[in-house]
């Protein structure tokens, strides 16, 4: 009896010692299909690293952004790995809030990361966040309605074609809108779409000296085209439609075309959620013949805050979650179509992936067509395709988004909206010390 007690005691002591040795890291993330899938597959990581325990905090995008910003700015140290986007990475890296990722392992193959994505996550040639999944935007359209309209969608359409097709596809009596586009105000909502669109019209937020450019003809052309198109062929109440609202409309068969994130392809083509799953075609985002397309570039990425005390364990996790091995793991458990897209060139060279994801080529072409360092026709002093990677942009982008949303709703004219946007941008840039 005594011996048994002794053995039990020894076992529990060693278990306690082991538990004390195990390091736990806290990962802040957003709620989307790919991230949820990763949480389910972490056994693979913890088996290989039994001394690292993973804690997850899943939050809505805006709350996550606010929380991680608060934590990182106050060096709260609540998180060891953070999920952040291409907007935050260059700003935070410059503030020395993030650790450079230089110990991702010998077999990580960082050169395999798609150059456009790696460029957006690097500062001075150093990678500060590893992309978990990348996305661009493209045109999703109803093949049946396009055929009915007697048109054929080119692989790389122009804005004029989009307008022509939208006019023909609009069938108000049957509740079909030719085109659905974002109208809800917000730097990540309508301004993501409109900024990317404006690039293809040759517009830019600022010139090389940070002078706001809303008083230039390119912005007038962009906004006028958008408002006219939406008035003629867009859904009712479009000024309050964001990603999710348009997704619902498209899935219910109420949109002929929808220009939005490439990630939407997996939703609209899923028969469980979409009534038009077998009728959807894809094309590159439109252009105007100026050499730039109206598509954006975004990557949800894993970064390590400078305040963490568990940098090694955190980097091991980041390396695992963004590795080729992880892609193979997802493929073996859930099929190639569910592998996080848009980060590694090798995935797009994989014939099995090409077969499983019909939108693969279009996604890669869209990502490659966006260049965060040269987003528009004329030179700019900033990084970012559908945003400007400066701290002031969140506030300014939302203000301008509200003005443009009001123009779409008919509450103000295009000229008024642009004039007010120019004033707001000038004030913000002056206050920020960019211009005098």
């Amino acid at each position: 009896m005594k011996l048994r007690t002794l053995i039990l005691g020894l076992c529990s002591t060693s278990a306690l010692a082991f538990a004390a040795h195990a390091e736990s890291i806290t990962i802040a993330t957003v709620n989307n299909g790919d991230m949820v899938r990763m949480q389910k597959l972490t056994d693979d990581f913890t088996k290989a690293n039994p001394d690292i325990q993973l804690n997850w905090v899943t939050l809505e995008e805006n709350v996550l952004r606010e929380r991680v910003t608060t934590d990182i700015a106050t060096k709260g140290g609540q998180y060891d790995v953070m999920t952040i986007g291409t907007y935050e990475v260059p700003i935070w890296a410059k503030q020395s809030w993030l650790l450079p990722l230089d110990k991702l392992g010998d077999d990580y193959d960082a050169k395999d990361i798609i150059p456009a994505i790696a460029g957006g996550l690097s500062v001075d040639g150093k990678l500060y966040a590893a992309p978990f999944y990348g996305e661009s935007s493209f045109v999703m359209y109803r093949k049946d309605l396009m055929e009915k309209a007697g048109l054929k969608m080119p692989d790389a359409p122009t804005w004029d074609f989009i307008k022509q097709a939208a006019d023909k596809m609009t069938d108000r009596a049957n509740g079909v809108n030719g085109v659905c586009l974002r109208g809800k105000a917000g730097w990540g909502e309508n301004m993501a779409f409109l900024t990317a669109m404006s690039n293809s019209f040759g517009a830019r937020w600022f010139d090389e000296n940070w002078k706001p450019q809303f008083d230039q003809p390119e912005w007038k052309k962009t906004l006028q085209f958008y408002v006219d198109l939406m008035k003629a062929d867009g859904p009712e109440g479009a000024s309050s439609n964001g990603f999710n609202e348009n997704l619902a409309l498209f899935q219910q068969g109420k949109c002929g075309m929808w220009i939005d994130a490439t990630v939407a392809a997996s939703f609209v083509s899923d028969p469980k959620n979409s009534t038009v799953a077998d009728k959807v075609g894809y094309a590159l985002a439109p252009d105007n013949g100026l050499g730039k397309r109206g598509n954006w570039l975004w990557a949800w990425s894993l970064a390590i805050p400078a305040g963490t005390k568990k940098a090694d364990a955190a980097e091991k996790f980041v390396s695992w979650a963004t590795s080729k091995h992880y892609a193979e793991l997802v493929a073996s458990k859930e099929g190639w179509a569910n592998v996080p897209p848009g980060t590694r060139s090798s995935l797009y060279a994989n014939p099995e992936y090409q077969k499983a994801a019909p939108f693969a080529k279009m996604t890669l072409d869209s990502i490659n067509a966006a260049d965060p360092t040269h987003p528009t026709v004329k030179p700019v002093p900033y990084v970012g395709v559908q945003f400007v990677a400066i701290p002031e942009f969140q506030g300014l982008g939302t203000t301008v988004g509200q003005l443009f949303s009001a123009a779409l709703a008919g509450q103000s004219s295009v000229d008024d909206a642009l004039k007010q946007a120019q004033d707001a941008a000038t004030a913000a840039m002056t206050e920020g010390g960019y211009i005098k």
Partner: protein
């Protein structure tokens, strides 16, 4: 004739009450209905008859353990309420039975703190919590929730205490009761309905508090508000899952409210009609 009019009035009043009650309850009812739909059904416009699938519930439970969050919600709401009562009963007693010139001003000042937008003090509070090592701790959040709801608790108790004749307390004092005995054996038993309804209301307020509970916790102390928020997605329509998570989060407090509604209403209307 008079009886007929009274009856008609009664019927109209009953119908009106039902309409108002349904209007108020409808969003919750629709959330519950949506939680039993598939994702495709959930986005296909207004529909009151679900297919009755439990798919969303099993997915929600598989995605994140409900019970850990539930336990935290119970500990935080009950704990903060007990703390609040411990502070508020003596405070309300002194304001009700030995008021000074400044009592009214203090009461107004306490209430005015509720008018401040919470986000204005996010950074200072966050820094205090960080420096005291209280981030993601139940104790820290309990104190925070207690402080947030304290003005309302003091105000409610003050109103109830004012209804109790001061002479009874005086009589107790004449009989040699100490201050402690006076509060514990005389005042508290007389104010039980008031204290109970304050307690219930405070538990509901603490249960539903979403700003601080989401911002000051990560994993260990995260309550059901953080659980719901983890199902809100900016990309993708997962309304059925979100509804299932919301239903699971509101169910306990809804059931508690249902069972204690008599007590709650009695307490809230205590002294309203004289």
């Amino acid at each position: 004739m008079a009886r007929a009019v009274t009856n008609r009035h009664k019927t109209i009043a009953t119908i009106a009450a039902w309409i108002v009650a349904l209007l108020i309850f409808f969003p919750i009812l629709y959330t519950i209905i949506t939680s039993f739909k598939s994702e495709q059904e959930a986005i296909q416009g207004f529909n009151l008859i679900p297919s009755g699938t439990f798919e969303s519930y099993s997915e929600v439970q598989a995605q994140s353990g409900y019970f850990k969050f539930f336990l935290n919600s119970v500990i935080l709401s009950v704990g903060s309420t007990i703390l609040a009562l411990l502070v508020a009963i003596p405070a309300a007693w002194s304001m009700a039975f030995s008021p000074t010139k400044r009592t009214k001003d203090i009461l107004m000042w306490m209430l005015s703190t509720k008018m401040m937008p919470a986000v204005a003090v996010l950074f200072p509070i966050y820094l205090i919590f960080r420096n005291l090592g209280l981030l993601d701790s139940r104790i820290g959040l309990m104190v925070m929730l207690m402080l947030i709801n304290l003005p309302i608790v003091v105000w409610m108790l003050y109103t109830y205490f004012r209804e109790i004749p001061g002479e009874i307390l005086e009589a107790a004092r004449m009989d040699g009761a100490s201050l402690w005995n006076e509060i514990v054996y005389v005042l508290t038993p007389m104010a039980v309905p008031g204290i109970a309804s304050t307690m219930l209301l405070n538990i509901i307020l603490a249960w539903n508090e979403a700003f601080w509970t989401i911002r000051l916790t990560t994993t260990d102390a995260a309550p059901l508000t953080a659980f719901i928020s983890s199902f809100s997605s900016p990309q993708g329509l997962f309304w059925a899952k979100l509804s299932a998570a919301s239903t699971l989060a509101i169910a306990p407090i809804l059931i508690m409210g249902w069972f204690s509604q008599k007590q709650l209403v009695r307490g809230l209307t205590f002294g309203a009609v004289k």
